[in-house]
Amino acid sequence: MLITGIKSRPVYDELTPMASGLNHLAAAQGSGGKPLVRLLQAMTPDQLAATDVLYSTESFTGQNYLAELQQFKVRNLAVFTTNADAVRGLDASLADAKMGTRLYLSGSEGFIGTSMQVATSYGMNRDEVLREQAGSSARRVWCAHCGHYSENVTHRVFTCPGCELNLIVRDHYSGRLAAFQGVKADGEVPGEMPDNEELDT
């Protein structure tokens, strides 16, 4: 779990079955398969039979939990090769979701954040969703100048693929945009760059 001084960063949970749920929807990506396996192990057979799982095998760190996930007798397991497809799959599932559906998300912060955007658009409340961060601490970054979103940013300073400015990643997170903020790193004196560092290490 990420523990930092960043006040706007989400506080993540631990995935455990929500007893109040009539239906369960679990979406995970890469390393997020591990907390998902733990969640499914903790479910009763009835809960498993009322659970739909979406799993994306795209992983920044190369972790794949598909074989373990296939061991569980869930209602349905849908597999995606990209995180973007999994989020679209989540959107389609939520469009058909019934009252009493509980949502579980695990994986990178970027995956959880973009999945939360979808959940929020369906009016899901925070107490109907559990989120567990897993795997790399790479960040999703929004460029304040051109609006481009960069996935898997691992260093404090990087070049924006959208506008090619050197950006510094501020420790400020927007849930609505599901991203950290990137601003021109050498704004005051072009070429005068701040120290670079690995993020969250």
Partner: protein, 364 residues
């Protein structure tokens, strides 16, 4: 009743951009009516909230102050909204009731406090709004957005000085639901929209550790309609540039490297933020206005010598973390050095200028 507006000469040809060559100046009266934010020689954060009741005959006389820059600021807002659509004005879809609340509050306040310039005539929900400074005379149905050419909040705040951020109360916190922010200081409305009170204050140093935010939030959640509160805040900026958003940082940040101890008087501006917060009656939202005043260090020396001495001392002793956060690390020393020429070290009154025995712009 009104005294200031009748004698105020509203300037129409001012600009707040490098393209417009920064044609901006304060009159002597314009400086001396400012809500000067330094009550002591030492500055540290505090909640400094007080009831927003009329005080003095300057910027704190009205619920929402207007001054000699009203017309040019409204023109600047129009320009910024056209230059960058979708960046400076945003409202979440469920904020419509709060939008009407805000329109009512601004128009009623202006009409009451500045009757020479504004008239609001109500016949049930059929309202007529006359703004003589901008040459507007419109009729619309209160509560019916189809009778206005744009969102009610955009319509009202295009005719108002200062920024307006509307916070909705949700889960015991306040969440940003809408904003008109063409004058924001180094933040992004697009990025911050939807954030809660602790989230959008995240980057501010010391606040969290000092417990100020907890107390401020508890206080704000107890606010009632009809009982506004206010605080003042400040920063420094280079050139009389109102729009200093995160989005346009590459345009304005280089100005910070142009200040030296020779030109600091002309280049460096004190940016005063007067924040009169109101609970809105129907939506239960809270409006957080940021009325921004710009005054150069040279204008302070010329028209308000006591305030120039005070700001010299406050800047010289300012905590370094705050210098960094407020973004003037690069020219802080130059500003202090320039101001030191005009500070004889004489003792100054304590308290805000609008308080009894507070610091006055000039005289003893």
């Amino acid at each position: 009743m009104t005294t200031a507006p009748e004698t105020t000469a509203f300037k129409t040809n001012e600009t707040y951009t490098p393209e417009g060559d920064y044609q901006f100046r304060n009159s002597a009266e314009g400086v001396r009516r400012l809500p000067f934010p330094f009550p002591d020689d030492d500055y540290m954060y505090s909640m400094n909230l007080e009831p927003h009741v009329p005080a003095g005959d300057g910027a704190l006389r009205a619920a929402f102050d207007i001054d000699e820059h009203y017309v040019s600021e409204c023109a600047h807002r129009d320009q910024m909204l056209r230059d960058m659509p979708g960046v400076h004005y945003l409202a979440l879809p469920h904020m419509m009731e709060a939008q009407w609340d805000l329109l009512e509050l601004i128009f009623e306040s202006y009409a009451r406090d500045f009757p020479e310039q504004f008239t609001l005539t109500k016949n049930g929900n059929e309202w007529r709004w006359q703004n003589r400074l901008l040459g507007i005379d419109d009729s619309f149905t209160f509560g019916d957005p189809a009778t206005l050419p744009m969102d009610p909040m955009e319509y009202a705040t295009r005719q108002a000085q200062g920024e307006f951020v509307v916070l909705e109360e949700k889960d015991n916190t306040l969440v940003i639901g809408a904003g008109m922010t063409t004058q924001r200081a180094d933040y992004s409305l697009k990025f911050n929209l939807g954030m809660s009170f602790f989230e959008f204050h995240g980057p501010v140093p010391k606040l969290h550790d000092m417990g100020i935010l907890d107390r401020a939030l508890k206080f704000l959640l107890r606010m009632k309609p009809g009982h506004p509160v206010r605080r003042v805040n400040w920063s420094l900026t280079v050139n009389p540039r109102l729009e200093t958003s995160v989005e346009t940082l590459p345009e304005w940040a280089p100005d910070r490297a142009t200040v030296d101890s020779e030109n600091a008087g002309e280049k460096v501006y004190l940016r005063i933020e007067l924040q009169p917060l109101h609970r809105l009656p129907r939506s239960n939202a809270i409006v957080f206005p940021v009325r921004t005043y710009l005054v150069s260090l040279a204008e302070l020396v010329q028209h308000a010598p006591n305030w120039a001495k005070r700001i010299h001392r406050a800047l010289a002793s300012l905590d370094h973390e705050l210098v960094d956060y407020k973004g003037f690390h690069r020219y802080h020393a130059a500003a202090v050095e320039w101001l030191s020429q005009y500070d004889d070290g004489a003792p100054l009154a304590t308290g805000y200028p609008w308080a009894p025995d507070g610091i006055q712009p000039n005289g003893q």
